[in-house]
């Protein structure tokens, strides 16, 4: 058939991945980077971007050991034994649900503060969760097509505004350029990695590719593009605000608000920026909901996907309501250092080693 059900083209997967990664931490990344490295913030974001591309290479290579039609759980069970595969499935599903909870909480907090002061926090989260779950229930093909529409709505105005913002920045704020030691740059880049929440989805999305030829390099290109957008955003934001950036909670939103768009008649541009952020946040929540439920289904191997989505949504919503919102940043870092690091580096590495060993053994037997 011309259009494959539940499959996506490489272009669609690239867009989906870019939206997933972009939605996670962009509004706070320049502040966090500046708090760590001052005017060297962009350097650690740059190194973080390069590291993300290397991790994408690792995750893409692990995907090469999946057989046709095999999901992450199936491949892990085959390569690392059934119990280990199932345990990894449960863990990554849990991790994605955590991501969902944390992203939703952060989203609810920002919307509450910037757009809807009177609306209860849980209503904002419930609405976003409901629409994300609805999209997840429609399958991967729908998600991929959605990404092709949302990509342009999110990125084109965002980049347009930031290019315009360059007229009013003081690049002197960025000098001296190498005020931070290489060791600190690496340490900072590792710490900023929590802004790349959607990266581990590379491990899960590859079975949905209509064609797997050159998929790894295309996914790496997507990660590099997002890395460039993040570096660009950090440079422009720091050049605009200088050291005061560390006192701004959401510097990217403030940046949008203070940028003068010639001929524009909208008074509060940050509200407009919020619109783009709503969409990119939808992308990451929707991605986490889709994969956490489908991985769970792959582990249990029973029932319909929509039931798992509904169950995950209830669990996520309960956690959002029970969570102490002061702890979000700490929890994001905690999840990133434990489960995140495991699924970004350790798990793919083990899968690659196991896959390569099996391939060598098979070749020797032949």
């Amino acid at each position: 058939m011309l259009f494959l059900n539940n499959k996506a083209s490489a272009r669609q997967m690239q867009m989906l991945l870019m939206l997933d990664i972009f939605g996670a931490g962009i509004v706070m990344l320049p502040r966090k980077a500046a708090q760590y490295a001052g005017n060297g913030a962009w350097l650690i974001v740059l190194v973080m971007g390069i590291a993300a591309a290397l991790i994408a290479f690792l995750l893409g290579t692990a995907g090469k050991y999946y057989r046709e039609g095999e999901s992450f759980v199936d491949a892990a069970q085959r390569l690392l034994s059934k119990p280990v595969g199932a345990a990894l499935g449960l863990l990554i599903s849990l991790k994605l649900m955590f991501n969902c909870v944390l992203e939703l909480s952060r989203f609810g907090g920002v919307v509450n503060e910037k757009l809807l002061r009177q609306t209860p926090f849980w209503v904002i989260c419930a609405v976003m969760l409901a629409v994300s779950s609805y999209a997840a229930s429609k399958g991967y093909e729908t998600r991929a097509r959605l990404a092709q529409v949302l990509f342009y709505i999110v990125f084109v105005p965002f980049i347009f505004v930031f290019v315009l913002a360059m007229r009013d920045v003081e690049f002197e704020n960025l000098v001296p350029m190498m005020s931070i030691s290489p060791g600190d740059i690496l340490k900072g880049a590792a710490q900023m990695g929590s802004s790349l929440t959607g990266l581990e989805l590379i491990l899960l999305c590859q079975p949905y590719a209509a064609k797997r030829v050159a998929l790894r390099s295309k996914l790496i290109h997507a990660v590099l593009f997002i890395g460039c957008v993040m570096v660009f955003t950090t440079i422009v934001t720091y050049a605009r605000f200088g050291e005061t950036i560390t006192q701004l909670k959401y510097p990217v939103l403030d940046m949008m608000d203070t940028t003068d768009i010639p001929g524009a008649f909208i008074e509060r541009q940050d509200a407009l920026m919020m619109s783009f952020w709503i969409l990119s946040n939808f992308a990451i929540v929707n991605g986490c909901m889709f994969f956490s439920s489908i991985v769970l289904k792959d582990v249990i191997k029973k029932g319909r996907h929509s039931i798992y989505i509904a169950a995950s949504a209830v669990a996520v919503f309960a956690a959002v309501c029970l969570l102490n919102h002061e702890d979000i940043d700490r929890l994001i870092d905690m999840v990133y250092y434990t489960l995140g690091a495991g699924f970004l580096v350790i798990v793919p590495l083990i899968m690659i080693i196991s896959g390569a060993a099996r391939a060598t053994r098979k070749a020797a037997m032949r």
Partner: protein, 500 residues
């Protein structure tokens, strides 16, 4: 099955048409001794008197009396003799099935039974009352042909064939409707149509199980991929040039007897923004028009919701001077913003519905008078603010800028989702509503094609379909056929010569 006894066959046929006052029958004796009987039956006014009298009855009565065939020949095979010497029309066929005979009579054909033959002749004599080929009323074009489809299916197939003089243009004839026995013609170019699409189309029409198919709208609804969707899944047109263009794109046109519209499948969202005169005029101006149409589509869905979100939740987004003016205008209005919008929207919907039902000139006057007077009076009475009037009017006008009414209807209903979202959650609700609509749209497929193609999945056809969406590329630049067609060479074979 027919028997060898003419009396028995007549009895059986007449019992089927018992109580049908328009059933006409006649027994005619022929042969040298006038001892051979033939029986003719038809439905009054469904047949062409010229064909019946000139080519059938006068032949039988005069010619066969004047130069009768040899008695032994006529006795041996009466029906064949009559077919060879008694009827001077080429379009006839034989049958031995009583059901087929009855169906043919009901379709305007004449049935002839003779002697002791167990077969009958069905002579094509159909000529139904019709209003002729008129001009398009719902799809008016500034430039281009003015003719429109009519209720007679055969006229409609002729109107298409006149435009595509190619033996690859095929017409597959089907029948649907248990009682109506409506003829349906499926037209396509067999070199271009995708076999899966054609097969799916024929299967879906074949699966229609209903008493009557009275219009192409029945087929549209009964063959739709998703009956829950408010968005149209087949293009309905009254323009033969549009149907022909669609066939040339590898799509399938479905014509239904008694319906002056053709249905075109597959249809994607972008096809509903295309009008036939888009291709008859300069590409620059038509690209501009296309862009306006897409903007109109967005406005028809989003404008009231966006106003509500800004007015209720984010007034600080609106420029200060405008915000003051809006607030001042709203000061005297006793209703909340949502009620204002809904009130004016309801008034407009009432005017639209009443305008359609009333005869032409009165309907137009009602639209103008009602719109002006009600709007003006509502503002003067302080029931609505002028800005709401402008918003509702702009939304309505935007709907009229889209060439396909079925899409406008879908957008009309969709806007309420966004209004509800914006009313409840401001800009967040606006985007949530928009996302819900978008999810519905991207998950919709028609005959296997994504509804939002080529905006999504455009890479499948190397993005060449984009050239006929938001803008319209010059004709000679649109070389590749759209995704609907099998890839069998380009549709533009050479570029125009450029003058030095």
């Amino acid at each position: 099955m027919l028997s060898k006894s003419l009396d028995e066959n007549i009895k059986q046929l007449e019992s089927l048409f018992e109580g049908c006052g328009d059933f006409v029958k006649r027994m005619i004796p022929i042969g040298e001794n006038r001892d051979i009987k033939i029986y003719v039956a038809y439905i009054d006014m469904l047949v062409s008197r010229n064909i019946l009298d000139g080519h059938v009855l006068s032949q039988l009565m005069l010619f066969m009396w004047q130069t009768p065939p040899k008695p032994e020949a006529i006795k041996r095979d009466t029906l064949n003799t009559i077919r060879d010497s008694g009827v001077t029309t080429a379009d006839l066929r034989e049958t031995d099935n009583m059901g087929e005979m009855a169906s043919a009579i009901l379709s305007g054909d004449t049935v002839l039974m003779a002697g002791d033959s167990d077969r009958a002749l069905i002579i094509a004599t159909r000529e139904m009352p019709n209003r002729g080929v008129g001009s398009a009323e719902t799809e008016v074009a500034v430039q281009g042909p003015k003719d429109a489809f009519t209720e007679i299916m055969r006229f409609n197939t002729m109107l298409v064939r006149r435009r595509i003089k190619d033996t690859h243009l095929k017409v597959k004839q089907l029948v649907a409707g248990k009682r109506s026995q409506t003829s349906i013609a499926v037209m396509y170019l067999d070199e271009l149509v995708r076999p899966q699409v054609l097969e799916e189309c024929l299967n879906r029409i074949g699966a229609i199980d209903i008493d009557a198919v009275l219009d192409v709208g029945y087929v549209e609804q009964l063959t739709a991929d998703n009956w829950m969707s408010v968005f149209p899944q087949a293009e309905i047109t009254e323009r033969p040039d549009k149907a022909s263009a669609a066939i040339l794109e590898g799509r399938v046109a479905i014509l239904v007897d008694n319906s002056p519209f053709a249905m075109i499948v597959p249809a994607t969202l972008s096809t509903f923004f295309q009008a036939s005169d888009d291709y008859y005029q300069n590409w620059q101006i038509m690209s501009f028009t296309r862009f306006i149409r897409y903007a109109a589509g967005l406005m028809a869905v989003c404008l009231p919701g966006l106003y509500l979100a800004c007015a209720l939740y984010h007034p600080s987004m609106i420029p200060t001077l405008l915000a003051y003016k809006m607030a001042a205008a709203r000061q005297a209005v006793p209703f909340p913003a949502l009620a204002e919008i809904m009130l004016m929207d309801l008034a407009f919907e009432l005017l639209r519905e009443a305008g359609i039902r009333l005869p032409g000139p009165i309907g137009n006057s009602l639209g103008i008078v009602g719109g002006l007077i009600i709007g003006q009076s509502a503002v003067e009475a302080g029931l609505v603010s002028p800005i709401v009037l402008i918003i509702v009017a702009l939304t309505a006008i935007s709907g009229f800028a889209i060439p396909h009414v079925s899409l406008v209807n879908g957008l009309r209903l969709s806007k309420y989702v966004i209004i509800a979202g914006s009313w409840l959650l401001g800009l967040l609700g606006f985007w949530i509503g928009a996302l819900v609509l978008l999810i519905r749209l991207v998950s919709l497929k028609t005959y296997g094609f994504p509804y939002l193609f080529p905006f999504v999945a455009g890479e499948v056809n190397d993005y060449s379909d984009i050239k006929d969406t938001l803008f319209r590329a010059p004709l000679f630049k649109m070389k590749k056929r759209p995704i609907f067609a099998k890839s069998v060479g380009d549709r533009v074979h050479a570029e125009p010569h450029e003058k030095e």
